[in-house]
Subunit: 335 residues, 2 copies
């Protein structure tokens, strides 16, 4: 009996900094869950990171191994998930070159995700050309591994649509079916707020709890978390809407009943912020302590981490090279 082919997922991160609780709840947790059900490729997108970090390659380089450490520490299993470094796979750059001929400059300009990002990054009229075309580099990443699914936030859906436009154009023009359309696996987890409650958790806003933070740092961060500014005395009734402590309890505490009780208590008056925060700290530590322990173990032997990533890269390279070969054959570009 033929073994059923597992569906393929492509996911990954730009190596621009350590991963935080927002990443954990938004994607890492899911990757760990999905890695046995799917064939999972996890890209450490250093080329993509460079598109807006050209002046800081050392930051990108340094964070590649940090990302590897984060992945392994949260439970990504390199025996079933393939972790790889983008810049070590020449086929990804080569595919990008072929795909760039199948989209117009106007189509790139219309991509709403990139438009938003360009505004956020404040490039003005100094948009790096590499950044402008990075959606097509992503098409290469996705199609190289023939990914059926790409986990994304809702704001990233246009990227997947653009990918499929390229896939359809390629298959139509070259009368082939070597490229396959992919689907967005849209996360239904709302994005986690930062400590200040003002915006989503984001490295650039310095409102993060990192997976690699020490307990002291986590405690300090939890203690300065935004709650209800009107909740001055323990006995005062407090609001839980917009209260980051309760948002985090909802996200991370598995004992839903306990959280419901705490909320009631807080709203009625009688639960102090400090107490609630100390409880949240414990909840977070239940998650973070084992991750931290594993990280410490792995960090003892960085060469071993790199060996794992290199092994994944070799596997990914083989797969991407095979796709490139099929792409060139479909184009008749064989010598």
């Amino acid at each position: 009996m033929a073994k059923e082919q597992k569906k393929i997922i492509l996911t990954g991160d730009r190596p621009t900094g350590p991963l935080h609780l927002g990443h954990y709840i938004g994607s890492l947790k899911n990757r760990v869950k999905l890695q046995n059900e799917y064939e999972q490729y996890i890209i450490i997108a250093d080329l993509q990171a460079l598109t807006d970090n050209a002046e800081n390659p050392e930051k990108v380089q340094k964070n590649v191994i940090e990302l590897g450490l984060d992945y392994l520490s949260v439970g990504i299993d390199p025996k079933v998930s393939t972790i790889f470094i983008q810049s070590l796979i020449p086929a990804l750059s080569e595919l990008t070159m072929y795909y760039l001929n199948l989209v117009t400059v106007a189509q790139l300009e219309r991509n709403p995700t990139v438009k938003d990002e360009m505004r956020q990054k404040g490039f003005g009229n100094r948009v790096p050309a590499g950044f402008f075309i990075y959606p097509i580099s992503q098409v290469a990443d996705i199609t190289a591994f023939k990914a059926n699914l790409v986990p994304v936030g809702a704001d990233q859906v246009p990227m997947i649509e653009q990918t499929n436009e390229v896939v359809r154009a390629f298959n139509r023009i070259y009368k082939t079916n070597v490229l396959i359309e992919t689907a967005a696996l849209v996360s239904d987890v709302p994005r986690l707020s930062g400590l200040d409650g003002k915006a989503k958790m984001s490295k650039s806003l310095e409102n993060c709890i990192y997976l690699s933070d020490t307990p002291d740092v986590v405690k300090e961060k939890v203690l300065r978390m935004y709650t209800d500014p009107g909740h001055v005395h323990v006995k005062d009734p407090g609001k839980i809407e917009g209260n980051v402590v309760f948002e985090y309890l909802d996200a991370f505490d598995l004992e839903k009943k306990k959280v419901a009780e705490l909320k009631e208590n807080y709203q009625r008056g009688g639960l102090g912020d400090i107490k609630a925060k100390e409880y949240l700290f414990e909840v977070l530590e239940d998650l973070l302590a084992p991750i931290r322990e594993k990280r410490k173990e792995f960090a003892k032997d960085p060469a071993q981490i790199m060996k794992i990533i290199k092994k994944g890269t070799a596997k990914a390279n083989e797969k991407a090279s095979q796709t490139l070969k099929e792409v060139k054959e479909a184009m008749g570009l064989v010598y």
Copy 2:
């Protein structure tokens, strides 16, 4: 005594059609002359050809070997010149990706050569993204081989300037000197007119004499060449300005004295168009017959041509990979 390092030239063509007399006089002749003095890399730019031929990869593929045949037939010596296929050198795509981060979209939009080309090609608002960024792909071609000189027409000088902007940006940002600035070797040969005398010789205008044309075809083309429409009878005085026959005699006849006599005779009245054209045909045949003979010989064994090109490609690949390695090291992007 250390052997003096030869300077490096990068030159080449898009494989979109056979080469014609305009190519010969504008560049091929010079390549044959320069190949012993310089280390010459000749790129068969199939990737670049695809940027505005994405729907015709078979045309591009087919013309790669035709181009190789043309090169060898005019006297390019593969023992001293390195002929190679662009798409077989992954480092060229990879370098392009790194360089794209060092130029802005606005800088690409300002490139006057590309602006002109986009207008000529009538893309309207459907400019392929690959075409838009091809100057940066050219930067990769030039820098990969550390070319000191790039033979170009005057209209291509902005391309060389853009190359050097990228080179300087790279060296400045990454505090290195691995990339070297290149210089335009601007041809002082005016571009050859087409048979109709209305525009320069160009495949798309169907006004060319190809190096691979048979004698019959060459003769037929010479006979319908544009001369002086006012020169009706042999005895009438004729004009040589704008007269394509005399332009070609100036370009191809080595006996300058003889050409001067013919011109005088024509202007005075007494030299018929047919006679002048028959003479030009002989002059062209002195050039084309040996090229045609060599082409016929080479064409007997296309596998041998491909072997020569593949050998050049292997050498070029080694050189480009070495440059990519140095580029990554300069960026600290080493794992």
